[in-house]
Protein backbone atom coordinates (compact mmCIF):
# COMPACT_ATOMS: atom_id res chain seq x y z
CA UNK A 1 0.00 0.00 0.00
CA UNK A 2 2.97 2.44 0.01
CA UNK A 3 1.96 3.83 -3.38
CA UNK A 4 -1.47 4.85 -1.99
CA UNK A 5 -0.17 6.22 1.27
CA UNK A 6 2.52 8.27 -0.46
CA UNK A 7 -0.08 10.33 -2.32
CA UNK A 8 -0.29 12.69 0.62
CA UNK A 9 -3.20 15.16 0.24
CA UNK A 10 -1.12 17.71 2.16
CA UNK A 11 1.98 17.70 -0.03
CA UNK A 12 0.99 20.80 -2.02
CA UNK A 13 -0.17 22.69 1.09
CA UNK A 14 2.97 21.76 3.01
CA UNK A 15 5.29 23.27 0.39
CA UNK A 16 3.82 26.74 0.87
CA UNK A 17 3.52 26.55 4.63
CA UNK A 18 5.35 29.29 6.47
CA UNK A 19 7.79 28.35 9.21
CA UNK A 20 6.42 29.53 12.53
CA UNK A 21 8.75 28.44 15.31
CA UNK A 22 6.08 28.69 18.00
CA UNK A 23 3.87 26.17 16.18
CA UNK A 24 5.66 24.16 13.50
CA UNK A 25 3.41 22.24 11.15
CA UNK A 26 4.72 19.08 9.50
CA UNK A 27 2.91 16.72 7.14
CA UNK A 28 4.10 13.30 8.26
CA UNK A 29 5.05 10.55 5.85
CA UNK A 30 3.25 7.26 5.28
CA UNK A 31 2.68 4.87 8.15
CA UNK A 32 1.15 1.48 8.72
CA UNK A 33 -2.06 1.89 10.66
CA UNK A 34 -4.44 -0.70 12.08
CA UNK A 35 -7.61 -0.59 14.07
CA UNK A 36 -7.67 -3.48 16.51
CA UNK A 37 -10.74 -4.43 18.48
CA UNK A 38 -10.94 -7.41 20.76
CA UNK A 39 -11.65 -8.80 24.19
CA UNK A 40 -9.32 -9.76 27.00
CA UNK A 41 -7.74 -12.89 25.51
CA UNK A 42 -6.78 -11.27 22.21
CA UNK A 43 -5.46 -7.98 23.63
CA UNK A 44 -2.21 -9.32 25.04
CA UNK A 45 -1.53 -11.43 21.96
CA UNK A 46 -2.07 -8.50 19.60
CA UNK A 47 0.18 -6.22 21.64
CA UNK A 48 2.88 -8.87 21.69
CA UNK A 49 2.78 -9.36 17.94
CA UNK A 50 2.80 -5.62 17.24
CA UNK A 51 5.65 -5.05 19.66
CA UNK A 52 3.81 -2.54 21.83
CA UNK A 53 1.65 -3.66 24.76
CA UNK A 54 -1.83 -2.21 24.24
CA UNK A 55 -2.52 0.43 26.92
CA UNK A 56 -5.42 -0.44 29.24
CA UNK A 57 -5.72 3.01 30.81
CA UNK A 58 -8.27 5.28 29.14
CA UNK A 59 -6.90 7.88 26.71
CA UNK A 60 -3.25 6.83 26.92
CA UNK A 61 -0.79 5.70 24.29
CA UNK A 62 2.03 3.21 24.61
CA UNK A 63 5.27 3.46 22.63
CA UNK A 64 8.03 1.02 21.81
CA UNK A 65 10.64 1.02 19.03
CA UNK A 66 9.04 3.98 17.28
CA UNK A 67 5.62 2.29 17.13
CA UNK A 68 2.54 3.51 18.91
CA UNK A 69 -0.57 1.86 20.33
CA UNK A 70 -3.34 4.38 21.02
CA UNK A 71 -6.27 3.68 23.33
CA UNK A 72 -9.40 4.83 21.50
CA UNK A 73 -12.03 2.93 23.48
CA UNK A 74 -12.27 0.18 26.08
CA UNK A 75 -11.95 -2.46 23.35
CA UNK A 76 -10.50 -0.40 20.51
CA UNK A 77 -6.93 0.61 19.67
CA UNK A 78 -5.22 2.41 16.82
CA UNK A 79 -1.80 0.94 16.05
CA UNK A 80 0.65 3.16 14.17
CA UNK A 81 4.02 2.09 12.77
CA UNK A 82 5.55 5.07 10.92
CA UNK A 83 7.24 4.19 7.67
CA UNK A 84 6.50 0.48 7.96
CA UNK A 85 4.99 -1.89 5.43
CA UNK A 86 1.56 -2.87 6.78
CA UNK A 87 1.40 -6.37 5.26
CA UNK A 88 3.89 -8.24 7.49
CA UNK A 89 2.55 -6.55 10.63
CA UNK A 90 -0.98 -7.54 9.68
CA UNK A 91 0.07 -11.15 9.12
CA UNK A 92 1.95 -11.26 12.42
CA UNK A 93 -0.97 -9.94 14.48
CA UNK A 94 -3.44 -12.22 12.72
CA UNK A 95 -1.20 -15.20 13.41
CA UNK A 96 -0.89 -14.30 17.10
CA UNK A 97 -4.65 -13.82 17.54
CA UNK A 98 -5.78 -16.78 15.43
CA UNK A 99 -8.81 -18.43 17.00
CA UNK A 100 -9.47 -15.52 19.37
CA UNK A 101 -12.48 -13.28 18.67
CA UNK A 102 -11.16 -9.94 17.42
CA UNK A 103 -11.17 -7.56 14.50
CA UNK A 104 -8.07 -6.19 12.79
CA UNK A 105 -8.42 -3.73 9.93
CA UNK A 106 -5.62 -2.21 7.89
CA UNK A 107 -6.44 1.52 7.74
CA UNK A 108 -3.00 2.69 6.58
CA UNK A 109 -4.39 4.72 3.69
CA UNK A 110 -7.41 6.07 5.55
CA UNK A 111 -5.70 8.89 7.39
CA UNK A 112 -2.65 11.09 7.29
CA UNK A 113 -0.50 12.31 10.14
CA UNK A 114 0.21 15.93 11.02
CA UNK A 115 2.69 17.05 13.63
CA UNK A 116 2.20 20.33 15.40
CA UNK A 117 5.13 21.30 17.59
CA UNK A 118 6.17 24.41 19.45
CA UNK A 119 5.47 26.49 22.51
CA UNK A 120 2.13 27.68 21.11
CA UNK A 121 0.97 24.30 19.73
CA UNK A 122 -1.73 23.82 22.37
CA UNK A 123 -2.94 27.38 21.81
CA UNK A 124 -3.34 26.74 18.08
CA UNK A 125 -5.18 23.47 18.71
CA UNK A 126 -7.52 25.10 21.18
CA UNK A 127 -8.80 27.42 18.48
CA UNK A 128 -10.74 24.47 17.10
CA UNK A 129 -10.85 22.07 20.02
CA UNK A 130 -12.41 22.49 23.44
CA UNK A 131 -10.28 20.01 25.38
CA UNK A 132 -8.20 21.20 28.31
CA UNK A 133 -4.70 20.75 26.88
CA UNK A 134 -2.86 21.83 30.03
CA UNK A 135 -0.16 19.32 31.09
CA UNK A 136 -2.26 18.32 34.12
CA UNK A 137 -5.37 17.42 32.13
CA UNK A 138 -3.73 16.16 28.93
CA UNK A 139 -0.23 14.99 29.90
CA UNK A 140 2.49 13.59 27.69
CA UNK A 141 1.28 10.19 26.52
CA UNK A 142 -2.37 11.19 26.40
CA UNK A 143 -4.35 10.42 23.28
CA UNK A 144 -7.97 10.65 22.31
CA UNK A 145 -10.40 10.88 19.45
CA UNK A 146 -11.90 14.35 19.42
CA UNK A 147 -13.00 17.14 17.10
CA UNK A 148 -10.99 19.91 15.46
CA UNK A 149 -13.59 22.38 14.27
CA UNK A 150 -15.97 20.02 12.40
CA UNK A 151 -13.50 17.23 11.60
CA UNK A 152 -12.88 14.18 13.73
CA UNK A 153 -9.22 13.75 14.63
CA UNK A 154 -7.09 11.51 16.81
CA UNK A 155 -4.93 13.72 19.00
CA UNK A 156 -1.78 12.50 20.76
CA UNK A 157 0.64 14.40 22.96
CA UNK A 158 4.08 12.92 22.34
CA UNK A 159 6.01 15.58 24.26
CA UNK A 160 5.04 18.71 26.22
CA UNK A 161 5.11 20.78 23.02
CA UNK A 162 4.61 18.09 20.38
CA UNK A 163 1.19 16.98 19.22
CA UNK A 164 0.36 14.34 16.64
CA UNK A 165 -2.89 14.68 14.72
CA UNK A 166 -4.24 11.76 12.75
CA UNK A 167 -7.05 12.79 10.43
CA UNK A 168 -8.97 11.10 7.63
CA UNK A 169 -7.25 12.03 4.37
CA UNK A 170 -10.24 13.80 2.81
CA UNK A 171 -10.51 16.02 5.92
CA UNK A 172 -6.76 16.68 6.03
CA UNK A 173 -6.65 19.87 3.91
CA UNK A 174 -9.52 21.29 5.98
CA UNK A 175 -7.67 20.63 9.24
CA UNK A 176 -4.36 21.82 7.81
CA UNK A 177 -5.70 25.14 6.59
CA UNK A 178 -7.50 25.82 9.85
CA UNK A 179 -4.27 25.08 11.71
CA UNK A 180 -2.56 27.52 9.35
CA UNK A 181 -5.19 30.11 10.17
CA UNK A 182 -4.55 29.56 13.88
CA UNK A 183 -0.81 30.05 13.35
CA UNK A 184 -1.21 33.23 11.35
CA UNK A 185 -1.25 35.50 14.39
CA UNK A 186 1.95 33.96 15.77
CA UNK A 187 4.28 35.28 13.10
Amino acid sequence: MPELASANPLSALATRSRDVAAARLVALGPAARFVFRGREAAIGAAGGAFGVPLPREACRRAEANGRFALWLGPDEWLLIAPGADPAPIFVAIEAATAGLPHSLVDVSARSVGIELAGAQAAFVLNQGNALDLSPEAFPVGACTRTLFHKAEIVLVRHAPDVFHIDVWRSFAPYVWELLEEGRRELA
Partner: protein
Protein backbone atom coordinates in the same frame (compact mmCIF):
# COMPACT_ATOMS: atom_id res chain seq x y z
CA UNK B 1 -20.48 25.07 26.67
CA UNK B 2 -22.11 22.06 28.28
CA UNK B 3 -19.57 19.61 29.73
CA UNK B 4 -20.54 15.94 29.85
CA UNK B 5 -18.65 13.47 32.02
CA UNK B 6 -18.00 10.35 29.94
CA UNK B 7 -17.60 7.34 32.28
CA UNK B 8 -14.57 6.28 30.24
CA UNK B 9 -12.87 9.50 29.09
CA UNK B 10 -13.86 12.06 31.72
CA UNK B 11 -15.18 15.55 31.16
CA UNK B 12 -15.66 16.40 27.49
CA UNK B 13 -17.43 19.08 25.48
CA UNK B 14 -21.02 18.40 24.48
CA UNK B 15 -20.19 18.53 20.76
CA UNK B 16 -18.40 15.16 21.02
CA UNK B 17 -21.64 13.42 22.08
CA UNK B 18 -24.87 12.24 20.50
CA UNK B 19 -28.18 11.79 22.27
CA UNK B 20 -29.52 8.23 22.30
CA UNK B 21 -33.04 8.42 23.71
CA UNK B 22 -34.46 7.20 26.99
CA UNK B 23 -32.42 4.63 28.94
CA UNK B 24 -33.45 1.40 30.63
CA UNK B 25 -36.00 0.33 28.03
CA UNK B 26 -35.66 -3.45 27.73
CA UNK B 27 -36.80 -5.13 24.55
CA UNK B 28 -39.55 -7.65 25.39
CA UNK B 29 -38.16 -11.20 25.51
CA UNK B 30 -41.01 -12.59 23.40
CA UNK B 31 -42.43 -9.85 21.15
CA UNK B 32 -44.92 -12.20 19.50
CA UNK B 33 -46.69 -12.71 22.84
CA UNK B 34 -47.45 -8.97 23.14
CA UNK B 35 -50.61 -7.23 22.13
CA UNK B 36 -50.37 -4.45 19.57
CA UNK B 37 -50.85 -1.91 22.33
CA UNK B 38 -48.01 -3.32 24.43
CA UNK B 39 -45.72 -3.44 21.39
CA UNK B 40 -46.59 0.12 20.43
CA UNK B 41 -45.91 1.15 24.01
CA UNK B 42 -42.44 -0.40 23.84
CA UNK B 43 -41.71 1.17 20.48
CA UNK B 44 -43.06 4.66 20.83
CA UNK B 45 -44.21 5.70 24.29
CA UNK B 46 -41.61 7.41 26.44
CA UNK B 47 -41.89 8.92 29.89
CA UNK B 48 -40.94 12.46 28.81
CA UNK B 49 -40.63 13.76 32.38
CA UNK B 50 -40.28 17.33 33.51
CA UNK B 51 -37.25 16.90 35.75
CA UNK B 52 -34.77 14.06 36.08
CA UNK B 53 -34.56 11.84 33.05
CA UNK B 54 -32.39 8.72 32.58
CA UNK B 55 -31.15 8.74 29.01
CA UNK B 56 -28.56 7.21 26.74
CA UNK B 57 -25.71 9.19 25.29
CA UNK B 58 -22.95 8.13 22.95
CA UNK B 59 -19.43 9.56 23.04
CA UNK B 60 -19.27 9.26 19.28
CA UNK B 61 -16.27 11.56 18.72
CA UNK B 62 -14.36 10.00 21.61
CA UNK B 63 -14.36 6.44 22.86
CA UNK B 64 -17.48 5.61 20.84
CA UNK B 65 -19.21 4.05 23.84
CA UNK B 66 -22.85 4.34 24.85
CA UNK B 67 -23.46 5.26 28.47
CA UNK B 68 -26.35 6.51 30.57
CA UNK B 69 -26.88 9.90 32.12
CA UNK B 70 -29.31 11.45 34.58
CA UNK B 71 -30.22 14.86 33.24
CA UNK B 72 -32.66 17.45 34.46
CA UNK B 73 -34.86 18.27 31.48
CA UNK B 74 -35.75 21.66 32.96
CA UNK B 75 -32.26 23.02 33.58
CA UNK B 76 -30.27 20.72 31.21
CA UNK B 77 -28.09 19.89 34.24
CA UNK B 78 -26.28 16.54 34.09
CA UNK B 79 -26.65 15.12 37.60
CA UNK B 80 -24.51 12.06 36.92
CA UNK B 81 -23.36 9.65 34.25
CA UNK B 82 -22.84 5.90 34.55
CA UNK B 83 -21.82 3.02 32.33
CA UNK B 84 -24.35 1.11 30.26
CA UNK B 85 -25.65 -1.92 32.12
CA UNK B 86 -25.48 -0.29 35.54
CA UNK B 87 -28.64 0.43 37.49
CA UNK B 88 -30.07 3.93 37.63
CA UNK B 89 -28.51 5.66 40.67
CA UNK B 90 -30.79 6.13 43.66
CA UNK B 91 -31.76 9.48 45.16
CA UNK B 92 -29.84 11.73 42.80
CA UNK B 93 -29.36 15.22 44.11
CA UNK B 94 -28.85 18.10 41.70
CA UNK B 95 -26.64 19.84 44.25
CA UNK B 96 -24.13 16.99 44.20
CA UNK B 97 -21.08 17.92 42.19
CA UNK B 98 -22.05 16.82 38.74
CA UNK B 99 -20.72 17.11 35.26
CA UNK B 100 -22.90 19.87 33.87
CA UNK B 101 -23.29 23.55 34.40
Amino acid sequence: MLIIDCPWCGKRPEIEFRYGGEAHIARPADPSALSDEEWADFLYNRTNPKGLHAERWRHIHGCGRYFNALRDTVSDFFVTTYKAGEARPEHPRPDVEGSGT
